[in-house]
Amino acid sequence: MIKFVLMVNQQGQTRLSRYYEPVELSRRAALEAAAVRCCLSRNKDQCSFVEYKDFRLVYRQYAALYVVMGVTHSENELSIYELIQNFVEVLDKYFSRVSELDIMFNLDSVHVILDEMIQNGHIVETNKSRVLAPLTAINKMVDG
């Protein structure tokens, strides 16, 4: 299963974090810092999967922003790697080319999108329009 999803920028600032297993607040900061250090220290030639403690990090870099997922060894790494891409594509569609600022200013919408895709550490929905359905509904309500 997926243990957590992080979005971190190159300065190491967390822009989104979602945990699917209880982690104490004090340990979160340490975990996030360690995870981002792990990813930042790697270059493009290196593989996108890193052993970290008793689980594995799968990450993808989008310009200055890293999306990192912590997964157990039972997960299929490539499918998680593409899940990240799918997630970012959904964000792209919603924000029409997503940027770090969009994520900061619309944290609630990003959470809604993520919750539609991953629940409780498992993939629920991968179809983009279905993921966006609730948000589209809200926007219609607001517009109307």
Binding site: D54, L78, F105, S109, Q119, V124, A137
Partner: protein, 907 residues
């Protein structure tokens, strides 16, 4: 989709976030946050009722602050209030706040539950979804109790919307994980399995996750899912991508669902039904074929999605381990990936191939890639990929290629990353021993290891080389010659000095004939290293010197002079000084005969499992903690097991021998094992069995996860026992090993001793059984006794302050971690006796922790090879009622349970 304006109308939030971004320092940021927190708090506390919009804005700010790593200790109530709003946006933000910030033991749960109940009943699918998300995310026991009956109903009801079904499936999964006892599956099982047939692929995806988890727990109940999963998979892989338009990702049909279905199938053995089996094989072949087809898109996403499915299919093929054809095809496919330009693929291919190497069908096929893997070791730029290459070489090694692989690993070791050196050293040491045909190669290899990576050669490795040299006389001369030559190097590692000192002390005489390595030269060589070494090595060298005095009388004078020097006799280190004094005296007063007896060559070591292997397993164990979710473990487990059996073959043979004797004549009297012997819970010595003929006594000692038991067999009669034999059987998680077999004849009135080694691999409840057989006056006697080896024997007491104690006590607060028992006192309630029993149980008693001095509080750690389980206990006597209350908290529920059983019987 319209572009969304930054800030989405919430200006205050946008301003706040911009402020934070403009903060020049961490201090400024903290200051700004505190200001905002104060502002929000005053708004919440103020007299003016806030409207939904403001509440939403403030809750959003709190979420952002929480994300920055600041604890939020208010606002929960406001979030709960938002739940009852009729506006979706407000309700949504309320739920978001709760699922991000509220943990499962919050006292707000009841209020939240009310809101959830309303939303579940609302029949509004978006509201129902929010409520189900919340249950899935918080998942507390109280929630489970409140909703466990509703969710399966929602999940399988015909009129439920698809998106709600998806949420309900994962919600049920969560409740099953946190409170499995509450989720009654029975009646729903068939209908849940049937969800695999659902029209909607999103529902199938969610349902597959649920079924996989449930099937891991009770495979039998969900067996029918195999048929449906194969059918579904077959429809996906054979469909034209167009049929599944909504779920096609870069021209790959439903990749995530395919992965999940393949994973579900890994919970089961290959289907027995021939038709089903061939359908599955067909699917797997199609997946393998697709990779060979020209890509439908040049995008990397396309090939990644395709390969994700492929790797999962290969995992299933390996799991089944029954179709040689598929296994070899998988291996060839992975072989192609080994040279792929994508690092990710090379990494995963190496990892999967490691598993293939353990299958008898594909082992040979894997071996053909040896050159590529060795090349990867040399050229890969990513250490994690090189690590996988080392793992694969280790897995593919056998007698035919061991020399090449060990040589390559050794040469890689010279430049290997520090982080993985120790593991490589262990692996080389194991391979060298396992596949050594001639032991000179083994000795060379280990000495090379020490030369190249001396700092990473752990004690186990050099102990082992000495054990082997001592046990094999054909290699002793060679070993002496080789260490002698290696020691000539101007700078050599201390580990080499240790091995050299030990081996020359034992076998230096074998090379003393050559004037280039005459006794004096040998001694001078060793002694030239003496001053550079640490105390333990010096101590070892002193022992080597006294052995030299015995081996070579001609250097006695020289060595005595060295021992006599002030730097030895007055050495500040007690151990060294004592050795120098005693060895000097011994060499002066003892006759040659006595010297020869005292300093005789070491006897062969008993054959036992290589301690290096144990160490490597431990290393692996620490890096990959067991995970309930992990299906792959079964595959990994079996590879480990294969190594294990091969390496321990020799040690097992003793027990097997004892067994075969036992089997020859199954007649005579058999004493059945008695129930758990609670007399020995708190003590280690005593008589465990006695009849008219025989008395069995015990003395035992335990350290961490190891134990040694001395078993005494006393013949109470005046006639001898004949064909006496003994054997111990134990579960896999408690290893026992008899060190020496007893003489088959025990004289009348005599007592013989036998030593038994015990190792605790994990927590256990079954005690080992000692079976004894002998002939007395013509009849065969069979006796079986349970040995008093209980979990608490592996306790190590832990002292801690009362503050620490309470902190840990709180940490172990999950409901299953605590076990409590209230029971009537069976013995007189004496505080000193109780204290002695608790100490005997193995915990440390902590004074001044409990405010009531009559109560006992203790702490300890149960050691097993795989884990260490911390344990806290509290015993409250109530002398008036003649009752005790015992409370135990440990990090593992089975341990709590077992310890409570054992201890509550003692009072």
């Amino acid at each position: 989709m319209p572009a969304v304006s930054k800030g989405d109308g919430m200006r205050g939030l946008a301003v706040f976030i911009s402020d934070i971004r403009n903060c020049k320092s961490k201090e400024a940021e903290v200051k700004r946050i505190n200001k905002e927190l104060a502002n929000i708090r005053s708004k919440f506390k103020g007299d003016k009722a806030l409207d939904g919009y403001s509440k939403k804005k403030y809750v959003c700010k709190l979420l952002f602050i929480f994300l920055l790593g600041h604890d939020i200790d208010f606002g929960h109530m406001e979030a709960v209030n938002l739940l009852s709003s009729n506006k979706y946006t407000e309700k949504q933000i309320g739920y978001l706040f709760i699922s991000v910030l509220v943990n499962s033991n919050s006292d707000l749960i009841r209020l939240i539950n009310n809101a959830i109940r309303n939303d579940l009943a609302s029949r509004n699918p978006t509201f129902m979804n929010l409520a189900l998300h919340c249950i899935a995310n918080v998942g507390s026991r109280e929630m489970a109790e409140a909703f466990v009956s509703d969710i399966p109903r929602i999940l399988v009801a015909g009129e439920t919307m698809d998106s709600v079904k998806q949420s309900a499936a994962l919600c049920l999964l969560r409740l099953n994980r946190t409170s499995p006892d509450l989720v009654p599956m029975g009646e729903w099982t068939a209908r849940v399995v049937h969800l695999l047939n659902d029209q909607h692929l999103g529902v199938v995806t969610a349902a597959t996750s649920l079924i996989t988890t449930l099937a891991q727990k009770s495979p039998e109940d969900f067996k029918t899912s195999v048929v449906l999963a194969v059918a579904r998979l077959s429809r996906i892989v054979t469909s034209a991508a167009i049929d599944l338009q909504d779920y096609t990702y870069y021209f790959v049909a439903a990749p995530w669902l395919s992965v999940k279905l393949l994973r579900l199938l890994q919970c089961y053995p290959p289907p027995e039904d021939a038709a089903l089996r061939s359908r599955l094989t067909e699917c797997l072949e199609t997946i393998l074929n697709k990779v060979q087809e020209p890509p439908k898109s040049k995008k990397v996403q396309h090939s990644n999605a395709k390969n994700a499915v492929l790797f999962e299919a290969i995992a299933l093929i390996i799991h089944h381990d029954s179709e040689p054809n598929l296994l070899v095809r998988a291996c060839n496919q992975l072989g192609q990936f080994l040279q792929h330009r994508e690092t990710n693929l090379r990494y995963l291919a190496l990892e999967s191939m490691c598993l293939l190497a353990s299958s008898e069908f594909s082992h040979e096929a894997v071996k053909t890639h040896i050159e590529t893997v060795i090349n990867a070791l040399k050229t890969e730029r990513d250490v994690s990929v090189r690590q996988r290459a080392v793992d694969l070489l280790y897995a593919m090694c056998d007698r035919s290629n061991s020399k090449q692989i060990v040589a390559e690993m050794l040469s890689y070791l010279e430049t290997a990353d520090y982080s993985i050196r120790e593991e490589i050293v262990l692996k080389v040491a194991i391979l060298a021993e396992k596949y050594a045909v001639d032991y000179t190669w083994y000795v060379d290899t280990i000495l090379n290891l020490i030369r190249i990576a001396g700092d990473y050669v752990s004690e186990e490795v050099w102990y082992r080389v000495i054990q082997i040299v001592i046990n094999r006389d054909d290699v002793q001369g060679y070993a002496a010659k080789t260490v002698f030559e290696a020691l000539q190097a101007p700078a050599c590692h201390e580990n080499l000095v240790k091995v050299g000192g030990y081996i020359l002390g034992e076998f230096g005489n074998l090379i003393a004939g050559d004037p280039r390595s005459s006794p004096l030269v040998q001694f001078n060589l060793l002694h030239s290293k003496f001053h550079l070494c640490s105390v333990p090595t010096r101590a070892l060298l002193l022992s080597a010197y006294i052995k030299f005095i015995n081996l070579f009388p001609e250097v006695k004078g020289t060595i005595q002079d060295v021992l006599r020097s002030d730097s030895q006799l007055r050495n500040a280190d007690v151990e060294l000084q004592q050795r120098a004094v005693e060895y000097l005296r011994l060499s002066c007063i003892a006759s040659t005969d006595i010297l020869a007896t005292v300093l005789e060559e070491m006897p062969p070591f008993p054959e036992r499992e290589s301690s290096i292997l144990a160490k490597l397993k431990k290393k692996k164990g620490s890096s990959k903690l067991p995970d309930l979710d992990d299906v792959r473990r079964s595959v990994n487990g079996s590879t480990d097991h294969a190594e294990n059996t091969e390496a321990t073959e020799t040690s097992v043979s003793n027990t097997v021998l004892a067994f075969s004797l036992y089997r020859t004549e199954p007649t005579g009297i058999i004493t059945l094992p008695c129930d758990d012997d609670f007399r020995f819970v708190c003590k280690n010595n005593g008589v465990i069995y006695e009849n008219q003929l025989l008395q069995i006594g015990l003395k035992s000692e335990y350290r961490q996860n190891l134990g040694r038991m001395y078993v005494f067999y006393g013949n109470k009669t005046s006639t001898q026992f004949l064909s006496f034999s003994s054997a111990v059987t134990s579960s896999d998680i408690l290893k026992t090993h008899i060190l020496q077999t007893v003489d088959p004849m025990i004289e009348g009135g005599a007592q013989v001793q036998q030593i038994l080694n015990i190792e605790c691999l994990s927590d256990f409840s079954d005690a080992p059984v000692l079976s004894i057989q002998f002939r007395y006056g013509g009849t065969l006697q069979n006796i079986a006794v349970k040995l008093p080896v209980m979990l608490n024997k592996f306790f190590q007491p832990t002292e801690m302050t009362s503050q620490d104690f309470f902190q840990r006590w709180k940490q172990l607060g999950a409901p299953r971690q605590e076990v409590q028992k209230i029971f009537k006192a069976q013995h007189q309630m004496d505080s000193d006796v109780a204290k002695a029993k608790l100490l005997g149980f193995g915990v440390a008693l902590l004074d001044g922790v409990d405010p009531n001095p009559a109560n006992f509080v203790g702490a300890g750690i149960v050691h097993s090879k795989t884990t260490q389980v911390g344990c806290l206990l509290r015993l409250e006597p109530n002398t008036q009622a003649q009752m005790y209350r015992l409370t135990l908290r440990t990090s593992k529920d089975s341990v709590s349970q077992r310890l409570c059983e054992l201890l509550s019987d003692q009072f």
